[in-house]
Symmetry: C2
Subunit: 167 residues, 2 copies
Amino acid sequence: MGHARNPTPRRPARAAPHPAAAAPLELGKLAGYLGYQIRQAQSAIFRDLARATRPLGVTPGEFSLLATLQHNPGLSSLRLAQAYRLDKTSLSLALKRLAGRGLIASNRNAGDRRYHALALTAAGRDVLRRATRRIEAQERAMDALLGPGERPLLLDRLGRIAAAFGR
Amino acid sequence: MGHARNPTPRRPARAAPHPAAAAPLELGKLAGYLGYQIRQAQSAIFRDLARATRPLGVTPGEFSLLATLQHNPGLSSLRLAQAYRLDKTSLSLALKRLAGRGLIASNRNAGDRRYHALALTAAGRDVLRRATRRIEAQERAMDALLGPGERPLLLDRLGRIAAAFGR
DNA sequence: TATTGTTATACTCTATAACTATA
DNA sequence: TATAGTTATAGAGTATAACAATA
C-alpha cells in the first residue's frame, strides 16, 4: 500500500509460468447466467451454514426436515419426500439417521396402519431451536448485503423459479 | 373458478387418514429464509438442466468447467479447483472423466513441468456449444418469470452473497 | 522443502430394485 | 392389487491421506 514503489517496474525474468493464484478467472457468459450465480450462492451459503450447525450435529438439509416436521406434525414420510422431491428411499435413510439420534419419532398411525406419523421429539425441538438461531444470524448477514425491500423480491422470484422448474 | 359451486360442502366420510397429496405443506419461517429459497431454486434448476444436457453426456457442473476452460485456456487444475472451491483431488477426478471422454486435453507445461495446461478439444468445444444452447433456453425461460431489469439485480445480489460467504 | 498432480479410500446424498406390512 | 415404508446396492460428488514428479 503506502510502501516504497518499485522505481523501475521490471518485467518478470521469465514469462509468468502460472498466473498469480489471486488473478480472478474469466467467466465469460457464465457470469450472466442466473443458474450459475444461484449455484455459486447456494454452495457458499451451504458451506457457511454447515460450519455453523456442525457443533449441533445437524446439516442444513436436516434442519429443513426438522423445521418442516415442526410445522406439520403427524406428516407421513411419503408426503415429506414429495414436498422435497426426493425418492421415498432417500428420505427413509435421512429419517433413520434423525430417529437414530433421537431427534424425531415415527409412530404407526392408528387409523391406517400403513403409514407412520412423524414428529419431533423434545431433543429434536431443542436442536431445531438452537440451529434456528444460527440460521437467522446468517439471514441477517444476507440482509446487510441487500437494499431495503429487496428480500421479499428475491424470495418471490426464487420461489417462482423453483415452482416453474419444479416438475 | 367460474364452476358450479358445491351446494352442500359435505365433510369427508371419515377423518382424512392422510392429507391429500396435493395439499402444500406448512413451511413456517422456512419460506422467508433466502438460504431455503435459494436452495429450492438451485435444486429445481439443476434437475431441469441435467435433463436437458443428459443427451449430450455432460452434467451442469461439467458444463461450467468446460465454459471456464474455454475462457481461460492453459489454466492449471489447481487454479480451477481454487476458483470452484473444490479440493484438488475432487477436481482431479472430474477432469479425468472429461479427459476420458475426449472433451479436454492436459499437457505438461514446457516452462514449469510440474503443472499441466488444460484446454478444450474440438469435441469439447462442440459439446460446449450444444450445451450452451440448452442452458440459454433455460435462462430465457427464467426471464419470462422476471420483471424488466430484474435480472441484473438478481445476478448482483447473488454474487454478493457468494462473495460474502465464500471464504 | 514446496508445489502440482494422482491414486487409494471413505463418507454423504441420491436413486433403482426387491422386499415387508397393511389396506 | 395398491400404498407406505424399509433394506440392499450402486452411482455421483466430495474429502483426507499417502504418494510421485518437478522445482
